[in-house]
């Protein structure tokens, strides 16, 4: 025999629900294993070998096996916040833990300690003057960086790229380096700074998004490597910066007058 309250409880648990409620429950059930399903799909061999527990430690934490998946994503696809990998007090999220990895020079009001090349590139893209101290450190007879009056003139980026390409050597990588330094590449991992984090995402955990973020990360790595080569080269000898400034100044052109109908 059972008590009346037990019987009522049992009857309640067997009461039918409407379709909306049932679908919501099933959807929640699927979402609770969404990351593990991705683990199975993306890294089936690792999943099969895994001995990590898939039991959730509590409702707001990743399971050991989910954390194992995050580590694999970090190794093979794109960077994942270390705090999450090491479980330093961060709870789990239904979104991909995207975090900015690009340079943060443009958001830095004080570039005094930044490399000379970085200060020069930021000044170019911000249409700022370079102070005498920087010009002196680049070398004697370094031309002043022209400040563009945007009402009458503009920077012809295509022309600048062409001039750098024609100059050859490391100079041909300079436009890319400038774009990376100033977060202006069109690449998510480089262009999104911590200040602009709220403007992107959130990114859902699904195969398409993981693939897109992985492709973007591979491209970002190549661009960043190119920037580093240019910065290392100019760190050893800043004198080519004078030539870069000259090429930049030559790329400033008069705005074309708009045709009136």
């Amino acid at each position: 025999m059972i008590t009346v309250s037990q019987a009522i409880g049992e009857l309640h648990s067997r009461r039918l629900v409407n379709v909306g409620h049932a679908c919501g429950y099933l959807q929640d059930a699927l979402e609770s294993v969404a990351i593990l399903r991705l683990y199975q799909t993306l890294f089936p061999d690792d999943y099969a070998r895994s001995e990590a527990s898939s039991q959730l430690p509590d409702a707001d934490q990743y399971s050991e096996r989910e954390r194992e998946f995050l580590r694999l994503v970090n190794q093979r696809c794109f960077p994942v916040d270390e705090d999450l990998l090491e479980a330093w007090g961060q709870g789990c999220s239904e979104w991909i833990p995207f975090w900015p990895t690009g340079p943060e020079w443009m958001g830095d009001a004080d570039l005094a300690d930044a490399p000379l090349a970085v200060r020069t590139f930021c000044a170019m893209m911000c249409n700022d003057e370079l102070d005498d101290g920087v010009l002196t450190r680049i070398g004697p007879r370094t031309p002043r960086l022209k400040v563009i009056d945007h009402r009458t003139h503009t920077l012809d980026w295509k022309r600048f790229r062409r001039l750098c390409r024609e100059a050859g050597g490391m100079l041909k990588h300079v436009p890319t380096a400038i774009s990376v330094v100033t977060n202006d590449t069109g690449n998510l991992w480089i262009d999104v700074t911590s200040e602009a984090m709220d403007a992107v995402g959130p990114f859902e955990w699904n195969l398409e998004t993981i693939q897109a973020l992985s492709d973007e990360w591979r491209a970002a790595e190549k661009l960043t490597a190119r920037m580093n080569r240019v910065l290392d080269w100019l760190e050893q000898d800043p004198w080519p910066l004078a030539r870069i400034i000259r090429l930049w100044n030559r790329s400033i052109v008069k705005r074309k007058k708009k045709k009136h109908a």
Binding site: V17, V19, A22, C23, Y25, Q27, A29, L30
Partner: protein, 83 residues
């Protein structure tokens, strides 16, 4: 009631009992709780299918109800019991 109306009632009466697939799976999972992550992973294809079929069936039922509600009323030749 006319012959066509009779046929409808006969068909409805003869239709087998049925529970929406999403509700049926919800009930099954309720009886199996607590479910582990591995259990849910093994059932994920079934769950996805139940959600799709459940929603589709719900749409069909709602459509049928809308049609019935919009149907023109017809007088019955018999007085229903209880009136």
């Amino acid at each position: 009631m006319n012959a066509a109306g009779d046929q409808v009632l006969v068909a409805l009466g003869a239709a087998p009992g049925h529970v929406n697939p999403a509700v049926a799976l919800w009930l099954k999972l309720q009886q199996q709780e607590p479910l582990s992550a591995e259990d849910l992973l093994a059932m994920s294809a079934e769950i996805e299918q139940a959600i799709v079929e459940g929603k589709q069936e719900q749409g069909e039922v709602e459509g049928a109800l809308r049609t019935l509600k919009a149907a023109n009323p017809a007088p019955s030749r018999d007085v229903p019991l209880g009136f």
